[in-house]
């Protein structure tokens, strides 16, 4: 078993690193517009907390909307693919095209075509977040062993029964794992889209704050926005991890139950 103090090791290491960073910046006299120390970054946040938190909320709304959209789209298309080989042949190549096309390259087009700023950000983030949840769900729907499919056939199960009693439950852990990856990617997609859109003169998300602060050489504020983005990514990952754990535990899928003797 891990000793209790080991749990504090990451925080302790982080604090020591921050202290070393602050000391190095001060001792070497590095100007804040090159590399601000942690205290300057905290100062920049304290100077305008509402502005930065408002931008965080804006980015978060885009991220969550994109995640919900990509999950809905991913599950729907994965279901269509599992139901029909024709649908599979038609959908799969386009899903791969969507995955391999760099979002930075198509974001300007999306912004021009969609027009509405919020909708275009959501579309970009959805494109980035879509593939993991889609591919995982498709793999999960096909993951039930052949013998179980045979068993359902043998007992005359309808397609609906096979879907609801076998394929969807088998796909659940795959979907949740995909959703967790897509959660992180939705944030990345939202930020990339904001960068592109921001340079076009609208939007107010955290990425736009980073750009804006960069132009004004307000480097501590830039770092403050960056820290908020990282914390948001960690929070999204932790939240989806907790959701994953709670759902699978409720279903009895956890692996730490006591095994019975043979």
């Amino acid at each position: 078993m891990t000793p209790r103090w080991m749990r504090f090791a990451p925080s302790l290491f982080g604090l020591l690193s921050l202290a070393a960073w602050e000391a190095a910046v001060r001792l070497a006299g590095v100007p804040v517009y090159i590399l601000p120390g942690p205290l300057a970054i905290i100062g920049a946040f304290v100077a305008d907390p509402l502005g930065l938190l408002g931008s965080l909320a804006s980015t978060l709304i885009v991220t969550v909307t994109a995640l919900v959209t990509s999950a809905t789209l991913g599950v729907t298309l994965a279901l269509a693919m599992s139901a029909s080989r024709l649908a599979r042949a038609a959908i799969l190549p386009w899903a791969v095209v969507l995955q391999v096309t760099p979002i930075v390259a198509i974001a300007p087009l999306v912004i021009i075509w969609v027009g509405d700023p919020f909708a275009s950000l959501v579309v970009c983030a959805t494109i980035v977040a879509f593939f993991p949840v889609f591919a995982n769900t498709a793999a999960g729907l096909a993951s039930a062993p052949a013998e179980l499919n045979d068993l359902f056939r043998l007992y005359g199960a309808s397609r609906r029964d096979t879907l609801f009693l076998l394929r969807l439950p088998a796909a659940l852990p795959y979907f949740l794992a995909g959703l967790r990856i897509s959660g992180g990617l939705a944030l990345v997609g939202a930020v990339v889209a904001e960068f592109v859109a921001g340079s076009g003169g609208f939007a107010s998300g955290l990425a736009y704050r980073i750009l804006e602060s960069g132009y004004r050489l307000e480097v501590p504020r830039m770092f403050a926005a960056l820290v908020l983005l990282s914390l948001t990514g960690i929070a999204i990952n932790a939240a989806l991890g907790a959701l994953d754990g709670a759902i699978l535990r409720r279903r009895g899928d956890t692996h730490n139950d006591k095994e019975h003797a043979p």
């Binding site: 045979d150 056939r153 007992y155 139950d257 019975h260």
Partner: protein
């Protein structure tokens, strides 16, 4: 119950899995299909279950009617349980698929679990059960619809020897009390000799039925120590070697 007449099965890749196989199943029989890998025994089982269709020959059910869903039970080599469902829900599955409500199915589900010695494990999930217990749940699931015919495809092959012996003894007791027909696939001569009323020897490339050996052994916990069992094992071994063309190894 069923006449299998000159049945053949060729897979799309050209492999002849089974050629010209004929067999008669009677009600209450315990038939063991015995042979090495690739002799078509699992294919024959799938043809009987209706999961696969022959390319030639026919399966003629007495009365001219193929069994309805639930009249044939199938036990696979793996327990093939739904990992997220309890033992009770796994056994309930075949009844649920036939539209039986949970309320009216529960007495049958509990009776089936009790038959296989798993009373008290209704709420356990497969992961919490040993390999032998999982196989018992699988057998209970096959029995819950009260099938006329029970098909078993090497169900004990993945289990340790002690568990296998116990399950074999329990299966014989179950078969005697239920009285359904069992077709059991194995590649173990010892298992075949212990279980079967009739051992059907099969040989590979292409899969075919070589011969049948009848057994009068009354299997019980002490059977494996009896000379009659050893003699039957020897008979089957010699017949199998002759069928496989290993005559030179035969001391007779």
């Amino acid at each position: 119950m069923l006449s299998i007449n000159s049945v053949g099965r060729r897979f799309p890749d050209g492999t002849v899995a089974l050629r010209d196989a004929s067999l008669r199943l009677e009600g209450g029989d315990f038939i063991v299909l015995l042979g090495p890998s690739g002799c078509g025994k699992s294919t024959l089982l799938r043809l009987i279950s209706g999961l696969d269709r022959p390319n030639s020959g026919s399966l003629d059910w007495d009365g001219g009617r193929a069994p309805a869903a639930g009249e044939v039970g199938f036990v696979f080599q793996d327990a093939t349980l739904l990992p997220w469902a309890t033992a009770e829900d796994n056994v309930f599955l075949p009844l649920r698929l036939r539209g039986v409500s949970r309320q009216s199915a529960l007495p049958d589900v509990h009776a089936a679990l009790e038959r296989v010695g798993l009373a008290g494990f209704e709420t356990s999930r497969p992961r919490q059960l040993s390999g032998g217990m999982r196989m018992r749940v699988s057998i209970a699931r096959a029995l819950v619809t009260r099938p006329r015919l029970l098909l078993m495809d090497e169900p004990f092959a993945a289990l340790d020897e002690f568990t296998r012996h116990r399950l074999q003894t329990d299966l014989i007791a179950l078969w005697r009390s239920i009285g359904c027909t069992i077709v059991f696939v194995t590649h173990s001569i010892y298992e075949a000799a212990f279980l079967a009323r009739r051992v059907v020897l099969m040989t590979p490339r292409p899969g075919r039925i070589a011969r049948e050996i009848a057994s009068k052994l009354v299997a019980g916990p002490e059977t494996r120590l009896e000379p009659a069992y050893a003699a039957l094992v020897a008979d089957i071994t010699h017949a199998m070697e002759r069928a496989l063309g290993h005559g030179e190894l035969d001391p007779a």
